[in-house]
């Protein structure tokens, strides 16, 4: 427990740094926010009034304190696009993005790890060489292009899967408690919604997961090869542990340590990917919202999204550390 707490405290400096950077980004920006707010035909007097009203004539330090206070109260102002508070909009869209990224992450792990193990077991033979090429290709595909190709093939040509959205129009999303449709529909026993939500999530999640599968497979493979050369594997073989058991239970645990440390980084990639994927699949999440904000030049939304992602990132890093500690008993004692 104290381990979790200490790890959480470590995140505070980087979150503070994030606040400073975002603050500076707004104030270094060539566009004067007061001029933007006042509109194109504003007089100098109007601009000055607005500048005063928003405290933009105060010293930078005072503005920064005010900025931090606003952020602490989740007050990011109203969105120009939806004219609702940005925080409300974001919270409403968070579950959709979480559901998408979580499914992608699960997919990436569930496929990436076994692929990596199999490649390592056939080191330098064809399954391994194929994987090496595919894993480099997997990171080289442009997400937006892959999304469009999948849409074109599976939705437009074959008609197997829905083209866009999270749920077919007319179907009612189950009320709570998580906001994740797949989970909620199961909790309510609503199989119609579950199948429909599942069909909708397949393509976007697969698009998002591809890079992750490649990355995790790569690291797992390197981890297995490294572990196989260790003394305890020799010992386990010399004491007659069956090969499959040895690899899938004992070697695997040592090997995924490196892959797990990548999941934190990977999550950053998933978030970035979700901006593109959500906009292409019309997924009602934060990524889609962000693209709208970019197109309408809604800087408040962009700021809030940047901060939110920073926080998610910090949380994911803490979770990654916890996962590693769960795998490796030595890490638990060191702190």
């Amino acid at each position: 427990m104290s381990f979790i707490l200490r790890r959480a405290l470590l995140a505070i400096p980087s979150l503070f740094g994030l606040l400073v950077v975002t603050f500076l980004m707004i104030h270094v920006s060539p566009a004067d926010p007061a001029t933007t707010l006042a509109g194109d035909n504003a007089t100098a007097e109007q601009i000055a009034r607005i500048r005063h009203q928003y405290g933009l004539d105060q010293p930078l330090a005072v503005q920064f304190v005010r900025y931090v206070a606003d952020v602490a109260q989740l007050d990011f102002g109203d969105s120009q696009y939806s004219s609702r508070p940005v925080a409300t909009d974001l919270l409403g869209r968070l579950p959709a993005t979480l559901e998408l990224t979580l499914v992608a992450l699960i997919l990436a792990t569930a496929l990436g790890i076994p692929i990596g193990v199999v490649a390592a077991m056939h080191h330098n033979r064809w399954p391994d060489i194929t994987l090496r090429l595919l894993s480099v290709a997997g990171v080289a595909v442009a997400t937006f292009w892959l999304a469009i190709m999948l849409q074109m093939f599976f939705s437009m040509r074959l008609g197997w899967l829905p083209l866009r959205g999270r749920l077919t129009d007319g179907l009612a999303a189950p009320a709570g408690p998580t906001g994740l449709l797949l989970v909620d529909s199961l909790l309510h026993g609503d199989l119609t919604v579950f199948t429909d939500a599942f069909a909708h999530i397949v393509l976007p999640a697969a698009t998002l997961a591809l890079g992750g599968i490649a990355t995790i497979a790569r690291f797992t493979r390197a981890g297995v090869l490294d572990t196989m050369s260790r003394d305890f594997v020799q010992y386990a073989r010399a004491t007659g542990t069956p090969r499959q058991r040895l690899i899938w239970i004992y070697v695997l645990r040592n090997s995924v340590l490196a892959a797990v440390s990548q999941i934190g980084l990977l999550f950053g990639g998933l978030i970035a990917g979700s901006v593109v994927v959500e906009s292409i699949f019309d997924w009602p999440g934060i990524g889609n919202y962000t693209v709208q904000a970019i197109l309408t030049a809604d800087s408040k939304v962009l700021l809030a999204v940047t901060l939110l992602i920073g926080v998610i990132y910090a949380v994911v890093n803490i979770l990654t550390d916890l996962a590693q500690a769960a795998i490796d008993p030595r890490l638990r004692e060191r702190r």
Partner: protein, 280 residues
């Protein structure tokens, strides 16, 4: 032939990478002479719009009747220019900062690394999008945004390499001989950090092409009528699934180019950085 190059060529994936990169560079330089319809960089021929691939138009034509094959070839120059400029500028910022931070021990070094870590923790694409929007959507904004998000990678690498070298025996010896700090940094430490920088830069070129294409796709990068690959995929969406070639070929161009840089980068890492060779 030096042994390093022979080793590079013996590895099939790496040679494939090198080959692709050479082809892309050749296209970037000689594109206007190689493309069958060089005028299609900007011209439009509404008569032959959205024609499927044929002998005359191997990749078909787009919504304005332009030869996609030509535009894919012509797009190489833009893609390479953007990535070279972005990676070059990122190196110009990141490498000196890393050297200073890694060689020093005081608060300057500490401050540089804290800022670097914050930038590294930010999701690149979102940061780049936000910056590009603030600066006003254009190719130049996109490039500045990419530089702002990419320099920390170089600082990180150079910092850790320099930190290790600072305590190396030969540096002690140089200090003993009275060599100046700048001299040690530029003549002795910098060349020793070259390998990881080259590897990172090679992979960075591919990565930048990918992100720049994404910015172009989202309308925050290249502007029409540039023969930009990302932009072409964005334009194609209205005409799917009928005009499948319109989306497919520019995307494949991105895939192969980035694949080439990544394969080459991987191979270079194996050859230049013996410590990592084991983990491939």
């Amino acid at each position: 032939m030096p042994p390093a190059i022979r080793r590079l060529l013996r590895d099939i994936p790496t040679s494939v990478g090198l080959l692709i990169v050479l082809v892309v560079v050749a296209l970037a330089i000689a594109g206007p002479w190689l493309a069958p319809y060089p005028g299609d960089a900007s011209a439009s021929h509404l008569i032959r719009r959205l024609k499927p691939p044929s002998a005359d138009f191997p990749f078909g034509t787009d919504n304005l009747g332009r030869d996609i094959f030509s535009r894919v070839i012509l797009g190489a120059r833009g893609a390479l220019e953007v990535s070279l400029l972005v990676v070059g500028a990122s190196m110009a910022i990141g490498v000196p900062l890393g050297l200073v931070a890694g060689y020093g021990t005081g608060w300057v070094s500490e401050a540089i690394m804290r800022v670097t870590d914050v930038f590294l923790a930010l999701p690149q694409l979102v940061l780049a999008l936000a910056l590009a929007q603030m600066l006003g959507p254009s190719l130049e904004s996109a490039m500045i945004a990419l530089v702002v998000t990419y320099w920390p990678f170089f600082t990180r690498i150079v910092f850790s390499e320099t930190g290790q070298l600072r305590t190396a025996l030969f540096v002690d010896a140089l200090q003993g001989l009275g060599a100046s700090r700048t001299r040690i940094l530029l003549l002795h430490i910098l060349p020793n950090t070259a390998s990881p920088i080259i590897v990172r830069a090679t992979i960075g070129l591919g990565f930048t092409i990918l992100v720049a294409a994404t910015l172009g796709f989202l309308g925050m990068g290249a502007t029409p009528p540039d023969p930009d690959w990302g932009l072409a995929v964005a334009q194609s969406r209205t005409y799917l699934p009928a005009a499948w070639w319109f989306a497919t070929f520019p995307g494949l161009a991105i895939l192969f180019t980035v694949l080439g840089f990544n394969l080459l980068g991987d191979g270079l890492r194996d050859i230049l950085d013996p410590r990592l060779r084991r983990s491939r």
